[in-house]
Symmetry: C2
Subunit: 269 residues, 2 copies
């Protein structure tokens, strides 16, 4: 738990701790930084780009990329124009998903839920300032991006995030909201901490959250928290529908009871 801060930040690692922590192996950190160089890339990267994004020099990038490439974690682009993450990554994805007990329990339940509500159902995992989609059960129309495992959205403005925050102490909520980079996604995205706190309060009262056009225009989503040991929130179920078909009220009265039931089935204690 104490180490998650570095992990939650999402991008930067390596600091003066390298000096402080004799067990921390820098060459591994550098290798992972090279893999993480792809995080905000939108095209194949050259060796030089990898070097700067990863914060290592050209030589290091060369050696590390070479090593990761012979192992299949990095590949050459099809047209030989740069480097891309390799298929070996997916082996580890599978390990993560398979071995995560929460996902094991949740999968059949949210499939059932999806069958009943016939809208998009997601399971997202709480990871500090963000929630990460781990299972996505798509409905009729979808965008490309929305279908990808590993996609994440901020905790402070997502239905699942609110549901999770509602299960935390006020000060913990505050800490997360304050630490978040509250860039609005739509004109209706709440960014004011007070408004967000009020929304969290409303979520506490009714037991689930209702997010209207927080991430995507035209979308209403309801979120329900999933709890783990000691009743702590560890994940959330989202159900998302279109405002072209539903009012927010109709949507929540129809979907919320089913989602709450599903969350209870997955939660521990």
């Amino acid at each position: 738990m104490r180490n998650t801060l570095r992990a939650e930040s999402g991008v930067r690692y390596l600091s003066e701790e390298q000096r402080a922590d004799p067990l921390f192996t820098n060459s591994i950190a550098r290798a992972m930084q090279v893999l993480a160089a792809f995080h905000h890339a939108d095209h194949p990267l050259s060796l030089a780009e990898i070097a700067t994004r990863a914060g290592v020099d050209r030589s290091a990038a060369q050696r590390i990329v070479h090593t990761l490439r012979t192992m299949g974690y990095i590949t050459r682009d099809a047209e030989d124009r740069g480097f891309l993450p390799g298929i070996r990554i997916l082996d580890h994805t599978l390990d993560y998903l398979r071995l995560n007990p929460l996902i094991q329990r949740a999968t059949p339940v949210i499939l059932e839920l999806r069958r009943n509500v016939r809208e998009r159902v997601d399971l997202s995992l709480f990871d500090g300032q963000r929630v990460v989609y781990a299972a996505r059960m798509q409905s009729k129309r979808e965008t490309f991006y929305a279908t990808l495992v590993g996609h994440s959205v901020p905790t402070f403005c997502s239905s699942g995030g609110w549901a999770i925050l509602a299960r935390l102490e006020d000060e913990a909520v505050r800490a997360i909201v304050d630490a978040s980079n509250r860039q609005p996604f739509t004109p209706r995205t709440l960014t004011d901490p007070e408004e967000i706190m009020a929304e969290v309060e409303a979520t506490r009262a009714r037991g689930y959250s209702i997010a209207v056009e927080q991430i995507l225009l035209g979308e209403v989503a309801i979120g329900v928290a999933v709890t783990g040991p000691q009743g702590r929130p560890v994940a959330a179920i989202h159900v998302a529908g279109s405002l072209a078909e539903w009012t927010a009220e109709d949507f929540s009265t129809r979907v919320a009871p089913l989602a709450l039931e599903a969350a209870r089935a997955i939660s521990q204690i």
Copy 2:
């Protein structure tokens, strides 16, 4: 391309090449071996288990796990009983999926296909002796395992694998089939190389494959190859249905034209 052999094998790395290749960084390889220690695990691993599975000594395992843990690639189990892959893995999953141009092109197409056929549709990527599921569009009933990205099935006995093999030279097919560990999944799984070659030949003739109960009893699947640059097979679309609802013939006459059309839309050249 020359390096893929080591990657394709899927599990073992590190050999005498460490001596031969001055650019290959062993400490990175060891770190990735530690992550790969989870590949066939079915429970949280202890440090000692990680050490033996990764083929490193206890001290190395300690240091590497410590490093990967502070970065979020490995976590402690919820009940503190062992180590598990960490959520940071999913960040790289997203990078892989996002940046893979094939998956970018394929996603909307197979969503559309799924909508039309109303059966399970998968996109799997060719990776030597196996094909790896990269996108799964589930239908009504599903098992847990079947829904996971990163899951792979052998090339030699899957509908998608046959479709891919049909686009390769006979000798390349032979090489893959011979190199495969041909453990049958069901009593009907084809394991005899000659029978497999015949199936590949039939697939060439009709343009798509029909796999009846090769992986799962009660399941029929049709496979269509997706080609990349120079017309080489890089992936396959699978559509799977239940033998309780369909005969193999009815299923393929209904589904194959749509799947072929989808594959053409994704393929290059």
